[in-house]
Subunit: 206 residues, 2 copies
Amino acid sequence: MKKGEKRKQELLKIAYKMFLTKGYENTSVDEIIEEAGIAKGTYYYYFESKEQMLEEVIEMMIGQEAEVARQVLSSNLDVVQKILGIMAAFRPTQEETTIENALHQQENALMHNKVKKRLMAAAIPLLAEAAEEGNRQGIFCCDHVPERVKLLLIVGNELFDEENFTESDVAVFIDMAEKLLGAKAGSMDYIKGLIGQTRCKNGEKE
Amino acid sequence: MKKGEKRKQELLKIAYKMFLTKGYENTSVDEIIEEAGIAKGTYYYYFESKEQMLEEVIEMMIGQEAEVARQVLSSNLDVVQKILGIMAAFRPTQEETTIENALHQQENALMHNKVKKRLMAAAIPLLAEAAEEGNRQGIFCCDHVPERVKLLLIVGNELFDEENFTESDVAVFIDMAEKLLGAKAGSMDYIKGLIGQTRCKNGEKE
DNA sequence: TATAAAATCGACCGATGGTCGAAAAGGAGA
DNA sequence: TCTCCTTTTCGACCATCGGTCGATTTTATA
């Protein structure tokens, strides 16, 4: 049961890369097994279906991103930067993705949606904790913290996902964030410059 | 060119219903042509591809919904109700959809996304007009109106799409809407009861 | 009625996700 | 080492799907 688990992880890694570069829909099982050098039967010995494999790949991704996010949360950055950092850590699109996947964005809808859903579940508690910290420090003042950060996350995802966002979008987003969390007007303005560049910049560790 | 257009409309209607009930991905071209009683070649005489047909189906849907939304806009409802009504009119999920599609929600991601995108483009101008009206009446007070209603729309879509939204979600949403548009605190509270029941209720005209 | 154009047909295709029975590979005990 | 059982691997095969294409019928036109 040790040998098998190794192989499974290996397959997940391969699929992970291919899904990011080519997209889920555009990566066939045949391509995966060719890359891995195994037979069809072996693949289906480890995974019930292609979609179930996607689920596991996503779990892998989220796990990594959550780790980064937790580091941000326990860092000594100021609260606003923590929130921004956590949101950046969970950015579904990373280096590799941006180029290729920007085009495939549409036909990759299934993966995209699943990631978004899973990401939400993982990110909300961490963001909520950061926001509570802001409340304690008197920087924020709001109730219903989880619901509020949820809205923040929704808007952040949906608005900055595509590249077509304007300065006005950013300005309104910041205004909304301030009011949503009960922060002082203008206290988040300094973020403005950062938002276009929030791409995850953690170096490749492979 | 008259006869052909009739057939095309007929095919669009059939596909429209099937996409709503069974979902786009789960409806095969073979099923559509069987339902329509035509051959494969005929289908591809009218549509370049299945996806292109989806595009036309969506255009059809949005067109109908936009008509309803425009009626709401030119009605004598108060501004807040207009905004709510417009958002309701563009609800991607309608009667038929709710039951079946709630389950298929996930695997129907492609259609769902395309609808969302198209809907956004159609709804924002109408919502903006309503919001401007609110500004003129002194009920709202905000700049960047299109960007603000865009956020409203994003959140509305994403939050109330699934059935898993709580009272807290609604409360925070209303709070956000007020602050986003610069409305008086509590002035939108009376909506609370309506939001769960915003399902499009226009009678079947078939 | 002759002829071109519009519309319909269905056999066929390549690719895809998935199945299945059989055969290696790998111990564990005798 | 031989036996027996489990784990793992193999690849031929399958059904379905979106899409193509040349042939044929229907319709309009002159």
